[in-house]
């Protein structure tokens, strides 16, 4: 008796050990796979925090992601800039003559700025010449133009009147408002002197590449465009999709089979075939609107061409129809007896219980719309309605060697969709899975 229990025990232990090894292996494989899936994101974030020099020198861990650049900063300092009248201005801009000039010495800049200076053959210490113009001639408070030059090169211009505390700091050679260098703020202004407070804006220093990319590539506009395009497309798809799906699922009418086949057929039409005629249709519409209504860019370079052709898709209709068809008939009969028509039944009963498939439709169409590249490439040639994908791809061309900026732009492009994903990931994966099963 004793021996049998002992063997049974050793059996179970053996089994447990084996099970443990298998489990361990599974987790190992999963972890390796996850590393493969994730490392490009890590690379993207790392590179986006590097300076150009760090990237070309193959530095693995950027200094921007250590505490060093943010802790070893020289203390905040107030600099008094004496402004004195200029008599001989020999700067690069001949078209104006400044009234006053003063010098701000810059002895220390952040790494990012240092590299940008190096590229322009500038060395520290730097004397930023500040030139003030006054067109109304009523004292320093009304100097309405300030120009900063470094080595007689134009660095930054303010065309607005100086306001206390608003000045971000000189732009070092090419970077849009280099506030991540030292950060300057005018705290006092009088006719013959400016008091400037020099400090460091850690926030700007940390997100330097993102700020440069954001400004240089006009991502603000592109993000807005993409958001509008995506929202409009989703709205259109949901409206046309629910109406059509409802008609197919719950209404009787002649020609139903034929129409449904037509919808099915569009599912099979490859995009390459209809891309060219669609483009010509847009061109035709554009010309038509120009001639009849005198509107230019009613279609071309406008949200209309970017959204309207995609405001219906057969996939959405199928997905919703499938769901609508499962709603019990009794529900509708009961509603009918209560004097409820199709439209009211659809909006008040069907839609509220179809939240899950609607969510899938919204998410998938959202991704497709946000991702589209080829069509916007074709129907836009100015920045007005250029979506973020086209913006990023042309930024890749412009920034070509500055990989760190491209990576920062990629992060900017990806973030909205990742946020959407993390909030809806359950519906998301479930939606994908059902679409797969439907085939």
């Amino acid at each position: 008796m004793v021996s049998t229990t002992a063997t049974a025990e050793s059996e179970t232990r053996k089994y447990r050990i084996r099970r443990g090894i298998v489990q361990g292996l599974l987790y190992l494989v999963l972890t390796l796979g996850a590393v493969v899936a994730i490392f490009p994101f890590a690379w993207m974030l790392l590179t986006a925090s590097k300076t150009y020099g760090e990237h070309s020198q193959k530095t693995f861990w950027p200094a921007g992601l250590t505490t060093r650049p943010y802790t070893n900063l020289s203390p905040v300092q107030e600099i008094v800039v004496d402004m004195h009248p200029t008599d001989a201005w020999h700067g690069s801009i001949a078209s104006f003559s400044p009234l006053m000039e003063g010098l701000i010495p810059v002895n220390e800049v952040s790494r990012l700025v240092a590299e940008r200076l190096e590229k322009k053959d500038l060395a520290l210490p730097l004397n930023v010449l500040i030139l003030a113009l006054d067109t109304t001639n009523d004292g320093i408070q009304n100097y309405d133009r300030f120009v900063l030059t470094v080595d007689s090169r134009l660095a930054e211009q303010f065309t607005t009147r100086i306001k206390l505390g608003q000045w971000g700091g000189p732009d070092y050679a090419g970077a849009p408002r280099g506030r991540w260098g030292p950060h300057f703020r005018v705290i006092e202004a009088s006719p013959d002197q400016l008091v400037v407070k020099r400090g460091w804006n850690v926030w700007y220093m940390f997100f330097g590449n993102y700020i440069i990319a954001w400004r240089e590539a006009n991502f603000a506009l592109y993000t807005r465009n993409s958001a509008i395009i995506t929202l409009l497309t989703i709205a259109g798809v949901v409206v046309t999709g629910t109406l059509a799906a409802y008609a197919f699922a719950r209404m009787q009418f002649p020609g139903k089979g034929l129409l449904f086949t037509a919808y099915l057929a569009t599912y099979m039409i490859p995009w390459t075939v209809i891309m060219i005629p669609d483009y010509l249709i847009i061109v035709g519409l554009e010309n038509f609107f120009k001639e009849t209504f005198g509107m230019t860019n009613a279609w071309y370079n406008n949200w209309t061409a970017l959204t309207i052709p995609f405001m219906v898709n057969a996939f959405t209709v199928f997905l919703l129809r499938q769901f609508f068809a499962q709603i019990p008939n009794e529900l509708f009969d009961a509603a009918l007896i209560d004097g409820c028509g199709h439209l009211r039944f659809l909006t008040q009963i069907v839609l509220p219980i179809s939240r899950a498939p609607l969510m899938t439709v919204v998410i998938l169409n959202g991704i497709w719309a946000w991702n589209s590249l080829q069509w916007p490439l074709i129907v836009t040639n100015t920045a007005d309605w250029r979506p973020i994908t086209v913006g990023l791809s042309s930024f890749i061309t412009e920034a070509s060697a500055e990989t760190q900026l491209i990576m920062a732009g990629s992060v900017i492009t990806t973030i909205p969709i990742l946020v959407l994903y993390f909030f809806t990931q359950k519906q998301f994966t479930e939606g994908i899975a059902t679409t797969g099963l439907k085939g």
Partner: protein, 402 residues
Amino acid sequence: MATIEQPVTPASNRGLFAGRRGRRIREALQAYLFLLPGTLLLLAFNLLPVGYAFYISVHKWRIQRGDFIGLGNYLKALGAPMDVVWVVGGLSLLAGAWMIWRSIKPETSGRGFLLRGLAALMLIIGGLALVLGFPDMLANGDEDLFRSLLITFFYSLGTVPLQIVLSFLLANILFQDIHGKTTWRILYFLPYVTVTVASAAVWTSIFEPRRGLINLALAMLGVTEENLPQWLFEATGIGTLIGQWLGLEVPAWAGGPSLALVAVIIYNIWVFVGYNAVIYLAGLGAVPRELYEAARIDGANRWELLRHITIPLVSPTTYFLTMMGVLGTFKAFNHIYVMTKVGRTLGFPQGTTMTSSILIFKHFWERNQFGYASALAFVLTGVMLSLTWIQNRVSEGRVFYG
């Protein structure tokens, strides 16, 4: 009970729409109204454009419509009319032979011999026609088109099988009793969710020959600088590269896809493994548990369970993913455009990443040959349809729909 006795709403009592018949007419009208916006858009931007595309393809059309040239564009792509007849006829005969062969069942033994003979005959004639027509077609047709088809073929072949196998394994692991299923799923799904342009840009920098992550890793492993692969800049086929590495002389035909295309393939696999795995997970969830239990009682081991239950029962998913994968590689545009075009020329390097969809875009957008690009699009559609047909036939009897 008051609700039931309540009279039908007044509107439906009037005139034409009165009574049961009226209600039906009313419903039909309303249905048409519901379908109107969607159908109009589908007609305008999906269905009618197919006809329009054909109309464009039979014209010389460079931005403006030019002369009617009939099938000229198609012949420019596919060579002389006789070549097309030989090749298409040959392929149809082969397909027909195969279908007849498959239709022979033991019960048809009487006619079986005859049918077998017919199939063999069709096979021989079809094969001959192909042998005769195909070289001519290659010689007379558009070299770029055939090259792009070959590249697309390599692209599909490199992408789809690996993608399927990896995602199947991954799904099976994720289907086990493990902790943090949701977390794993989120992680693996990330590549698919990322904006294509952005992730393609990231991979472009990973493949960068001098400062990219992969070559940094290779350099750390001791690969000397002149031996580092050039990835997206490398036009030489991997067959040739491996040959060089082994010190062998590899003939030109065995060169295979360029390393640049391999880089695109790697990217493609990275994006879709997680996505496919999620679909496989749903497929695995649909397999009845009792089958496994019954088989286990019969003494089946893990491998047998996988081989005889899991694989057959998820075969519809496999079929769907294969088809979507192949069609996807034929349609692929965004990532190839970003990884190979941006800042360079389409199909960089040396046209070795010029897949069919990129070729069509090139003719359409860079050369403004709308007519020819449309004809190419139809040719490509023909190829895709035949592939779908072949896949359908091959999977017949292998895909188990429960």
